[in-house]
């Protein structure tokens, strides 16, 4: 926000009470005007921040490239002086800018400091021929970014720290077979605490999505717990994800009751819902439940225990959420959610006990539950005036429809018929889904929803 913009906003704040008194503006319009001006100014500030951040990234890349081109000619002591000097200079310049209220440039220079620190780790490793376990370098880099975020109160640095944390975890998982990579949660929890401490919503979104990514990294790695995955273990874990996603969703809804927590609820609602939906989609494939190693009699008992614990958690959260609400007063689809949870819980346990005996039927049941989930998402989105839930519901519906078309007709139809049918299905589905989605989201927007 430029000084001129700030001045305009302050003058408007000072003038508006008089305008209200004179009857030129209603009290409701007063707040709406202030909100509008603040929003407009905030978006122009984001452009400044974005440009400054791009500047920092380019400068960082330029510095590294310059050193690279001339590296062999520079003595070791001079190299070190340059590395430490550049690092110190970027923080000093950030301090000067922040002290003069040039927030965007100051933030960008802090980000430059974080980038230079990472470059310094790898350049010092090169100078001293340190060829260690390289993900440790990413971890140190991530922690340093979080230190900058905490001490300089920089959301950019937090975003960098969160990004580096998930990169560190990905390299440990995929290149060093550490799956699940539990140490991920140490820096992740630090980042989460910082987002709460400073009320960073963008940071919270990043923290939530990295958790989502971590959960699915676990599934993608070839090994699990220092051995190969057992048959049906992945399905057992995805089942847990469905209910973990639902738990996050319920907690987020509960957070909106509390004044201090309410602003953090929307990103968690989205992540919880997406996690449950993606997991249900994966479970809707019969292959997810099929055994390839028929010698396997039963899964390790830990899976049953974990499933029961998660089911108890969801039940406890539902009690907490609805303890003061008579169920008869809820709309039908919210009452139906209790039945949905009960049936899903029974299906989860049954699927673990009957281990791969009825893959087709289990997948069929998950398809029915998915369709019920679509209805619930759309109805909830309309009732709460939340467009993102409606969009998610329609996207989920389209994905299920397409997946089943591929499953069913890929082998049954001649390829040309298959593609013609698929194309026609896409066109018809796209038309009807988009029309319904637009109708509902327009209703939400007209009602002042998000």
């Amino acid at each position: 926000m430029s000084m001129r913009d700030k001045g305009f906003f302050k003058r408007l704040q000072a003038e508006l009470p008089t305008w209200v008194e004179n009857g030129w503006v209603t009290p409701e319009h007063r707040q709406a005007i202030l909100d509008h001006v603040e929003r407009t100014q905030r978006s122009s500030r984001y452009i400044t921040i974005l440009l400054s951040a791009m500047g920092a990234l380019l400068l960082g890349a330029g510095v590294i490239t310059f050193f690279s081109a001339n590296w062999g000619l520079i003595p070791k002591a001079a190299k070190l002086a340059m590395l430490f000097g550049a690092l110190g200079a970027s923080y000093a310049a950030a301090g000067v800018c922040l002290a003069r209220n040039l927030k965007a440039v100051g933030e960008a220079l802090l980000l430059l400091g974080v980038i230079l620190f990472g470059a310094n780790i790898f350049l010092i490793a090169q100078i001293y021929h340190i060829d260690a376990h390289y993900p440790n370098g990413l971890l140190v880099w991530a922690l340093a970014a979080l230190v900058v975020a905490a001490l300089a109160r920089s959301q950019f640095a937090l975003l960098a720290g969160v990004g580096l944390t998930i990169l560190w975890s990905a390299t440990e998982t995929f290149y060093f077979g550490r799956n699940p990579h539990w140490p991920f949660f140490l820096p992740w929890l630090v980042a989460l605490a910082l987002t709460y401490r400073y009320g960073w919503l963008l940071g919270l979104r990043a923290v939530c999505w990295t958790l989502f990514a971590w959960c699915f990294f676990v599934l993608c790695e070839y090994e699990f717990l220092d051995r190969r995955w057992l048959d049906s273990e992945r399905a057992a874990l995805i089942q847990l994800y469905v209910f973990i996603g639902i738990s996050i969703y319920i907690v987020a809804r509960g957070m909106s009751w509390y004044r201090d927590w309410a602003r953090f609820a929307p990103p968690l609602v989205t992540v919880g819902a997406v996690m449950a939906v993606v997991s249900l989609f994966l479970l809707s494939y019969p292959n997810a439940h099929r055994l390839t190693n028929t010698a396997l009699d039963a899964l390790p008992a830990g899976w049953i225990v974990a499933t029961v614990v998660v089911l108890i958690l969801v039940a406890a959260l539902m009690v907490w959420r609805y303890i003061d609400t008579p169920l008869a007063t809820l709309p039908w689809y919210r009452q139906g959610a209790f039945g949905w949870l009960g049936v899903s819980g029974a299906l989860m346990i049954g699927n673990l006990l009957f281990l791969g005996q009825y893959p087709g039927w289990v997948a069929f049941a998950y398809n029915l539950l998915s369709l019920a989930g679509v209805v619930w998402l759309v109805m909830t989105g309309v009732e709460r005036r939340e467009r993102r839930l409606v969009n998610l519901g329609f996207a989920f519906f389209a994905a299920i429809l397409l997946a089943r078309y591929f499953d069913t007709f890929w082998t049954l139809l001649n390829r040309s018929y298959f593609f013609m049918g698929g194309g026609a299905l896409l066109l018809v589905m796209g038309f009807f889904i988009e029309r319904s989605r637009r109708r509902l989201t327009t209703r939400i927007t007209a009602g002042g929803g998000q």
């Binding site: 690092l87 110190g88 790898f122 001293y128 230190v147 300089a152």
Partner: protein, 191 residues
Amino acid sequence: MSLCWRLVVVFAIQAAALLYMIADRHWTLVNGTPVILETEPVDPRSLFSGDYVALRYKINRLALMELAGEREFRPHEDVYVVLRRGEPYWTPVSAHTTMPAVPADGAVIRGEVVESQARFWNSTPRSQDGLYLGVRYGIEAYFVPEGEGRRIERPAPNEKVSIRIAVDPRGHAAIQALLVNGAERYVEGLF
């Protein structure tokens, strides 16, 4: 705490982390036992700058049936290899999953198992004859000035490249010098 002091603390913490990297490496170079290893240079590649020689040592592939110590190693776990002094090259004696006592005429170097051929892909154990262990010690890259990499990669027929490393009491290893025909070509120091 004012913003200025908070940024000073940020810089101090980050500088301390970088200085620790340098100090730890220097400590190994100064206090480590000098060990000469036979190398098999593989190929130089450009990284941030200049070249680095990707070095391969005889001890990167351990024939467990020829060594004392343990047989079961898992990928990505630490392995401790006891080296015995030789003339001029040091050779492996035994491999362990935990740090053994350092013999009087030897050294213990710590590595990371990168490949364990103790089992086939389907988890069936191999016979004892086929037990090989791929190990990485963190001394497999050596950065050299631009253009030097290829000369080291392809030494003249009468040149033999070897590496002198320092192994400290924790088992950490650092490259001390790159030798050509036993004479120092590059020597590492603090500055």
